[in-house]
Symmetry: C2
């Protein structure tokens, strides 16, 4: 018999208890021991829960129960969860979590604290819950050099963008739908502003490159401004828009960003058109390996947490402790130094021809696209061609900022109102 304690009493917490009960027989056969939830910590009462007999509101009850070897933290956030995780690790308990906010902010310290106390801090469930990407990332750096990790990591924004693309739904309606379906949180800021995806790509990068990447160094843009016309343009260009998180090793450090991107249908990541999450890992011998999951993250979290628990019970000494050294200086490269291709959509006030001529001169290798729909008749849209992003942004600034066409064509003048700039192609 192995006892565990669960911190928090929300959906994840009851999910863990339920999965452990439903698969009790298989787990016992596999681990050589039954796994039982001994205590559930929460300050609230939950009189209607089937697990109410195990409820406690004192962490001391858990810490003073010697049979408890593993603590599952499902509280979320980085305040109470941080303090209780520290207490659990210091007391010699393994800790398992899906809390990407806590891992992204305090991963190095908590991993060190775990190592000092000869226990493990496990968080496979924190990024793409249940997409089994950690095991390869943990084992690859020896046999492969991972060069790049690209992912569609936030299930809520994926759902919202899919609804907008397929059904022409407005952003606000799609968001409300996602909240109602339980894909987005009541406070959706972390989902739609890209913070959740930034934390997850930071965690994946830290695993892959074995150096801690601070999520605050991930250049992050959200999806809130996007509208149906953008979706139509993405379709026209042979793709669809998703919130893409990306990181790669460069000579100047780890280049990472989260932003809405037009994903081409011939991209490996295009499989998420019908899936909820996708992670593409590139390495020298591994080549490209793609992991996708169709079930919404929230429904997989409990399963992923239990998988980590089982690993700990079955192989308590097995885990290789990840080493997330904080570097002395900043280890993040400037994403604007990367070569990219941008999609630009601009209102012209009527002189489409003039605007196109101007864009041609400025960008050199712009490719123009047209739509029949009347709503875009005062607009032009083009792909810039691949160039260093800083240079492209400078040119877009000139294009938008009332560039006098006389700069490039004597006597002419016009102003373009840049409506949207999106990265094209992943």
């Amino acid at each position: 018999m192995t006892d565990i304690a669960v911190l928090g009493c929300g959906v994840e917490s009851s999910g863990v208890a339920e999965v452990l009960e439903r698969h009790a027989q298989g787990i016992e056969a596999r681990c050589g021991a039954a796994v039982r939830v001994r205590h559930i910590l929460d300050v609230q009462e939950f009189p209607d829960s089937p697990h109410r007999d195990r409820k406690t509101d004192r962490m001391a009850d858990i810490l003073s129960t010697p049979s408890i070897g593993i603590v599952v933290e499902t509280i979320g956030g980085a305040t109470v969860a941080l303090e209780l995780t520290r207490q659990a690790l210091r007391s010699g308990r393994h800790v398992v979590t899906a809390n990407s906010e806590l891992v992204a902010a305090h991963g190095p310290e908590l991993l060190e604290l775990a190592a000092e106390n000869h226990v493990q801090y496990r968080f496979e469930a924190s990024t793409g819950a249940g997409i089994p990407v950690f095991h390869p990332l943990e084992h690859c750096p020896a046999a492969n050099s991972i060069s790049r990790v690209t992912g569609i990591l936030n299930g809520a924004s994926n759902y919202i963008l899919k609804q907008m693309h397929r059904h022409g739904t407005d952003f606000a309606v799609a968001l409300a739908d996602a909240q109602q379906q339980g894909y987005a949180a009541a406070d959706p800021a972390a989902d739609i502003e890209g913070l959740d995806a930034a934390r997850k790509i930071a965690i994946l990068s830290s695993m892959a490159y074995e150096t801690f990447l601070d999520y605050r160094d991930v250049h992050t843009e959200g999806i809130a401004g996007l509208c149906a016309v953008d979706m139509a343009w993405a379709e026209k260009l042979g793709g669809f828009i998703r919130l893409v998180a990306e990181s790669k090793r460069t000579g100047n450090g780890i280049l990472s960003r989260v932003s809405p991107v037009i994903v081409r249908r011939d991209s490996p990541l295009a499989c998420v058109d019908d899936m909820f999450q996708a992670i593409l890992v590139e390495g020298d011998l591994l080549g490209e390996a793609l992991f996708c999951a169709r079930v919404p993250e929230k429904r997989r979290t409990a399963s992923a947490l239990v998988a980590d628990v089982i690993d700990l019970v079955g192989n308590p000494d097995a885990h290789v402790h990840p080493r997330w050294q904080r570097t002395a200086g900043r280890n993040a490269a400037d994403p604007l130094e990367d070569e990219v291709e941008l999609f630009v959509r601009a209102r012209t006030g009527g002189d489409n021809e003039g605007a196109r001529r101007m864009a041609s001169r400025l960008f050199g290798q712009a490719t123009f696209f047209q739509m029949e729909e009347s709503e875009t008749k005062d607009e032009i849209a083009f792909l810039t061609g691949r160039q260093v992003e800083r240079e492209l942004r400078r040119k877009i600034g000139r294009f938008a900022g009332g560039l006098r066409l006389s700069d490039v064509e004597p006597g002419a003048a016009m102003q373009a109102d840049v409506v949207r700039v999106l990265r094209f192609g992943v």
Copy 2:
């Protein structure tokens, strides 16, 4: 320092030595010990190899070297490799292999022998070399019930079918190309007749369902008869043909088969259009998880073997021994009892209208398709609708066997020459 021995001196063997050397530093850091190839066993001489100083032709040299804790078997086949694997396991060495033929035929006995000798027999590299699917399969049965595994597992046939589809290449030419590129073996029978895929799906099934599935119980069809017209039809129907291996749990046992299938472009497996291998795992909490790899299997094998070696060195006691019980009776279900949809292409001798009428009466819900190309003008092609395969095959037999149309339509008679029957939709 951990010493290993490699059996065999082919591409995989030198690949293992090369990967170990190239990543020596990372491996030492991760495992806490350097990993060195101490002996390479082969009966041939290889005077030009950089590893010739470690060559031996006597297994006794390996067995009598106490520092060797791990043996990597790269011989292939199930004769010499079987005997040497047994010797290595009995002598208390872990064995790592990519040999799907050996694992599929003798897995249960070798796993038992390993357990008896308190060592591990590891073969992650044997199926989808380096697609990290074993770890989730090993850990899933506790937290998830795996219900189905579907894969495009044979890289050679995938390459051949892609060439045929994209470039209109003849089968024989595409095969020769695949052999020249090193994707297909000099004797390609196991690749193109589906045997390799059958062994791999049997191994994956045994992992997923924790009961040994004999690969000889996998209903297996190959790809040798396919031609450019089939590819054109697949395109017309919104897909492409791949050799698909599939297994699922049913009330009557494990239903498994390997056959050419028209994969629809909206299927998760469609990502292999541009990849080399794909494995889709379905489970109750996991939902659908998809793993794909773009690099050809052969180039990933060495990396996958080394990953298993590293796991053993880093965590020698960590592995959960898979249990592959042979069942008393046959545990395979009859694939003909499954509901499927079939694509049928038949020559009519000119009376397309009559043949269509006949097919309509026979199959009830047939959907007909037409092509403009003249070469198919004496043909009809249709999808049968979903029915139990045994029933569909019986109807196709009647259709092909000179069914007198008078059976269904008084006074009429005709014979259809069924050119192709393919499963539709994965």
